[in-house]
């Protein structure tokens, strides 16, 4: 179930990655993900705001300003830990695959 998952979806991962490089508002996050993934992963508005709402609730991110109706978010220490845990999990998966000759 989505509410009890321990790993992140691809979209969730990229939102954390986007905020890892500094505070951003929604459009900036969406553009960052589009550019970083060369268009492979796209965040529509509802997906983005669902993720931001979920991350705010889980205290992975916090809103730091609202300017011209644009909310700027930054990563928290808990969010950074979740990001690093996910990177380590992905590394472990790849290492396991490589140990079997991929």
């Amino acid at each position: 179930m989505a509410g009890t998952r321990t790993s992140l979806t691809e979209s969730m991962f990229y939102v954390l990655l986007a905020l890892r490089s500094g505070p951003k508002f929604g459009v900036e996050i969406s553009s960052y993900v589009d550019e970083k993934t060369k268009g492979e992963t796209m965040l529509g508005p509802a997906t983005l705001y669902t993720i931001l709402g979920k991350f705010e609730k889980e205290k992975y991110i916090q809103e730091i300003s609202v300017e011209a109706r644009k909310r700027t978010y930054q990563l928290t220490a808990k969010g950074l830990k979740a990001y690093r845990d996910e990177v380590n999990r992905l590394r472990r998966l790849v290492a396991d695959a490589e140990s079997e000759g991929v």
Binding site: T9, G26, V27, L43, A46, L48, T50
Partner: protein
């Protein structure tokens, strides 16, 4: 695309040459069925009007039949004051337009987006997030119903 069951025999209320009204064959939370219905209407030359949902009735502008895509985006309430508007904010509009999609209307907690460009990318790329939003909406609706029931019992 498959026609939505029950769509064919719906009562059509003619409003004149340029617009028609129809009752949707399914609730908005049947997302794929609603998208499919809107797309089949467009193939027949009926395009959901701007702010074209009112009191559960959909209004369509009459145009040249064509294949377009509609996508429903589930948008749960973020707070008590969130009921004040059901339109996407300016930032959401900017994001969707950059992706080639245009906001058309809202139906309950769902926002309807339209795209006529067959090459534009999909709006929903994370079905798990969409599913999570729909779960949250169901939960919010259940809470609202319980609150209303409690209020009615206590009054």
């Amino acid at each position: 695309m498959q026609k939505v069951k029950g769509c064919e025999g719906m009562k059509e209320l003619q409003m004149g040459a340029k617009q028609i009204r129809r009752i949707p064959p399914c609730p908005s939370y049947h997302v794929e069925a609603m998208e499919s219905w809107l797309e089949s209407m467009a193939r027949d030359g009926y395009f959901l009007s701007n702010d074209g949902f009112s009191l559960g009735i959909a209004t369509f502008d009459v145009g040249t039949p064509r294949k377009v895509r509609y996508r429903l985006q589930a948008v749960p309430k973020r707070g008590l004051l969130d009921d004040m508007t059901d339109r996407p904010n300016e930032e959401a509009l900017e994001i969707s337009e950059a992706l080639g999609w245009r906001y058309v209307a809202s139906q309950g907690r769902f926002q309807v987006y339209y795209c006529a460009d067959p090459d534009a990318r999909e709006l929903n790329t994370d079905p798990e997030m969409q599913s999570l939003s729909i779960d949250v909406i169901h939960s919010q609706e259940r809470s609202s119903l319980l609150s209303a029931l409690l209020w009615w019992l206590l009054k």
